[in-house]
Subunit: 570 residues, 2 copies
């Protein structure tokens, strides 16, 4: 097949070393961070913070118009900063018909380009997204409510690393088989039978990416880049509450595609109003062959049931739990857990909700603590962490939308409050909705109906159980039935840790043990930690691993008799 002749510049050559290093990173799972997480001028340049903020401010109240983007008219502004102002940005309005037609138009040359060229283009897109980290950070902050530093890190370099990780898996997986091979089968008499074979990875087809409100880039880049690098165009359908971070990313992707000589419409933004149903309409189109989704269990399940022509990768809701058995660092445990519950107001798919502790308590280096005492100690740790409003706001960020705020109010009525959710006022953002975490005491048996639902947001339950074995049983049952993104155990007893590991393997959830220092269960590091697991109901994918990319392409072969050196057919 015709190979793409790389235009100037050759992005693959430019990023070859990075790609090789990234593939090595996926294989050794050690620490590696290609995009510095510090929002520092020494890394990103003296003017980067200023220019990034200016670029963001400049966009407010205006139409966002990527060059040559399909569509007629605009989608009215839908984004409101959780810090209290309307973004006022409008986006191109693209109907599903227009999006499908435009996105699939350039598929031929993109397929013919091959994995190297596609990986090079993807790496260049990521490099330019990285250079735009400050602009994107502001866009993430003012759509998700994340505090600025977190918006920079999780929405910028950490998201970019998740993207590069997907590029690495997608690139490597397509190169598992050679582009060509000579097959030569010895015969009892005469010359061997010989065939020349070609092997070509071919994308499955048009991909649809349905993004979420809280992590528009971190949860989207893996699917976006996995699809793109395996040869598929991508329609990006952002959440109406968090369009801008993805709009900037799409704009950059289109610029790089065009520079490399490809159709920029291989990546399309399909913004919509909350009342539109474009995600559902697009999801069942016969042309849509791949779907990546982050969001509610309800819509994720609907996609899995109805988008049958597509492979569907979902990340839905789960019941993250902490099993408390014993500790040799009680203060560290409380500090660590209080931070986990507070970070971005618990609006992370990885935040623990159910804290399982025997009524009779646990052994600690500070002496035994009953469940009651632990609940009070946790409340104290939260107050200590969040005592200073300015510092608190830097951890909590703002409440992303009214749904979370309403749920938080409802949760305050389901049990005895251990730590009330209180409002924090931000002088510089008087309309921001900032809330401390709510912690409620529940009983493992009496309140089962309450804690076996997900309460997305700053809501956690201290659940009294009969014993650690009982806690592990609840962990097993709740994850098996409802799924989870994370599970945690605290114990000084290797037998308990081993039992928790067995439960985690049985029900298919990743486990964190005895986190008392500077690593938090919420955090999932690219190139080392797997995020989510297709092994439990909370997700149908693990970000990223080979299974996340192998369904996005097929390797096709052609074969013909080999011409031997003498010139005759064998």
């Amino acid at each position: 097949m015709p190979q793409h002749t790389p235009a100037e510049p050759d992005f693959f050559a430019r990023h070859r070393e990075l790609l090789d290093r990234a593939v090595a990173g996926t294989a050794n799972r050690e620490y590696w961070s290609p995009y510095p997480e510090s929002p520092s001028t020494s890394v990103y340049g003296e003017d980067a913070p200023k220019q990034g903020e200016a670029a963001f401010r400049e966009q407010l109240g205006k139409p966002f118009e990527p060059t040559g983007h399909p569509g007629v008219g605009t989608v009215p502004a839908t984004e409101v900063s959780p810090y209290g102002f309307e973004l006022g940005v409008t986006y191109p309005r693209v109907t599903p018909d227009e999006a499908v037609a435009a996105a699939t138009d350039g598929i031929g040359p993109w397929r013919a380009a091959g994995p190297d060229v596609r990986a090079g283009v993807a790496a260049e897109i990521l490099a330019r997204i990285n250079a735009a980290s400050f602009e994107i950070a502001h866009a993430v902050q003012h759509t998700t409510g994340q505090a600025f530093v977190m918006a920079f890190q999780a929405g910028g370099p950490h998201a970019q690393e998740r993207g590069l990780e997907a590029v690495a898996y997608a690139w490597a997986e397509q190169k598992r088989h050679p582009a060509a091979a000579r097959w030569s089968k010895p015969q009892r008499k005469g010359e061997p039978l010989a065939l020349d074979k070609k092997f070509t990875p071919v994308g499955r087809g048009l991909a649809l990416l349905i993004a979420c409100n809280t992590f528009p880039t971190w949860n989207s880049y893996p699917g976006l880049f996995a699809s793109l690098v395996t040869g598929n165009p991508v329609i990006v359908k952002p959440h109406p509450g968090a369009v801008l971070p993805l709009a900037i990313s799409v704009r950059i992707a289109r610029e790089v595609l065009a520079e490399a000589g490809f159709d920029p419409n291989l990546v399309i933004l399909a913004a919509e109003q909350p009342t539109d149903r474009n995600a559902a309409l697009l999801a069942v189109r016969s042309e849509v062959r791949i779907i990546d989704f982050t969001g509610s269990t309800e819509f994720g399940d609907w996609l899995e049931a109805n988008a049958r022509q597509a492979v569907v990768y979902t990340e839905k809701a789960g019941l993250n739990a902490v099993v408390l058995d014993s500790t040799d660092d009680y203060k560290g445990l409380l500090r660590n857990l209080a931070f986990s519950l507070s970070l971005y107001s618990g609006q992370m798919c990885t935040t623990p909700q159910n804290l399982l502790i025997p009524h009779t308590g646990i052994d600690t280096d500070q002496g035994p603590r009953t469940a009651e005492e632990f609940a009070a100690d946790l409340a104290g740790a939260l107050d200590k962490l969040l005592g200073d409003p300015a510092r608190a706001a830097g951890t909590l960020g703002a409440i992303v939308n009214d749904g979370v705020r309403e749920r938080l109010e409802q949760a305050a009525t389901v049990g005895r409050i251990v730590h009330a959710s209180t409002a924090i006022a931000l002088p510089e953002h008087p309309d921001a909705v900032v809330r401390t975490p709510l912690v409620v005491r529940l009983d493992a048996e009496a309140d089962r109906g309450t804690y076996t639902r997900e309460w997305f947001g700053p809501v956690s339950f201290v659940i009294g159980t009969d014993s650690t074995a009982h806690s592990l049983r609840i962990l097993r049952e709740s994850v098996r039935a409802h799924g989870a993104l994370t599970a945690t155990v605290h114990s000084t007893d290797e037998d308990v840790l081993a039992a928790a590991e067995q439960v985690a393997l049985e029900v298919g959830v990743h486990l964190s043990e005895n986190l008392t220092g500077g690593v938090f269960v919420n955090q999932s590091a690219a190139f080392s930690d797997f995020h989510g697991s297709a092994a439990n109901p909370a997700a149908s994918a693990t970000l990223s691993d080979p299974a996340f990319v192998t369904g996005r392409f097929a390797t096709l072969q052609s074969r013909r008799p080999a011409r031997v050196a003498e010139g005759g057919d064998v």
Copy 2:
């Protein structure tokens, strides 16, 4: 987690070299054959043919009773040799409840054993299946109707190689990530943050294998071994017409599992009568998490639609086509094509059905040939190939069941017959149903409704088209709509070959070009040829590639703070 302590003997150590070589084979796609295809005493031993046949004869008319197999009572004999006698073998009757309970009972130690131990057990099973190749060959011959040599090769060593290929992919894929890693993140001040992480591949859960009548072992071993090696128990549901080849395989698998210290019920035979609906009942059980299926499009589509809790790998029906444009070896083309249509009476998922040729004809080294002339020449080539009844029977085998025979009769009425299907009498098997291929002339436009259905069996159509471009258009449309396992093109024009390659990539079918010698489109060699393609509707899997195994397991992680050398927590 506890690691399995390998019992004597250590199968992994015994087969380590073979496994490494197999992984290399999957990667380089060159010729490699670990299990000799020749049914020769110099390879398999002086007594092997005799003993294999004796083992087969000994089983006839008796209950097949694998040691310790679950179930109550027996399934009455269902198998009739296409060569004209009843096998009279009964099998254990296992209800879906019993099968699910027994198969899942031993999953814990099998998961804990890890990929090396599981791959070693699988390789030992294959070694013993290989040693039983003669016994299995007779069982395959007298359930499928394949001639003996083909039954030996396709049902024996070639099937075993497909099995080993799946073992190699499954083993390698589970080892893409290390069992453990130290993650150490530098901090601006003080010691790095350090975590010790464990990564454990965990099987998705119980697998159901639904086998077919014509290739009970070749089409089953990939799924069986892919599931087993990735940590999953397997319920083997054979076709009622071809139980014995899989029953022998299951018996061997159970023996090896037990010797290695595992529950033999990790592999269970679920034989049934044709009127039972166990496949459908089992397929929708919540415990069944993986399904491999070979058979009708109807039931394959049903499984994909209804077995939503499982990942479903299907191989269904397709419309295999040959595009005839030109050739520099017309005699070779005719000889090769005649053999392809005759081999096992066209009862292969890879046999060409639609032969597309311009009405006005093609250029050949023997001068131009119109479509009419080509049809007559093909009929002549068939007569020449099948002129000697004894030799013909060795190529044709027997008609597998009444369904194929009836379809063959029906096909004789849909167009003008170019080559009639005639009966061949076998003196040694007077009741065998042996038929030569039927070739019918059709028109591309007028007879579209006829040739866009699959006529499984010795039925082919010479379809007159307007031009090669028209032929390629029909190839594109028919494969896109109905799928195909194979496509073929004959041309001396590199532009036509390139155009055919583009069509094949677009619609996702593997292509064979200009086969005029001793390689036939029907043939698919393990470790080099991909079989089927998830990229068109005829299959949802490619046997074997990484996508065929990655959905069968997830890699789960646990992490805890690293103990540094000084003994303190970091």
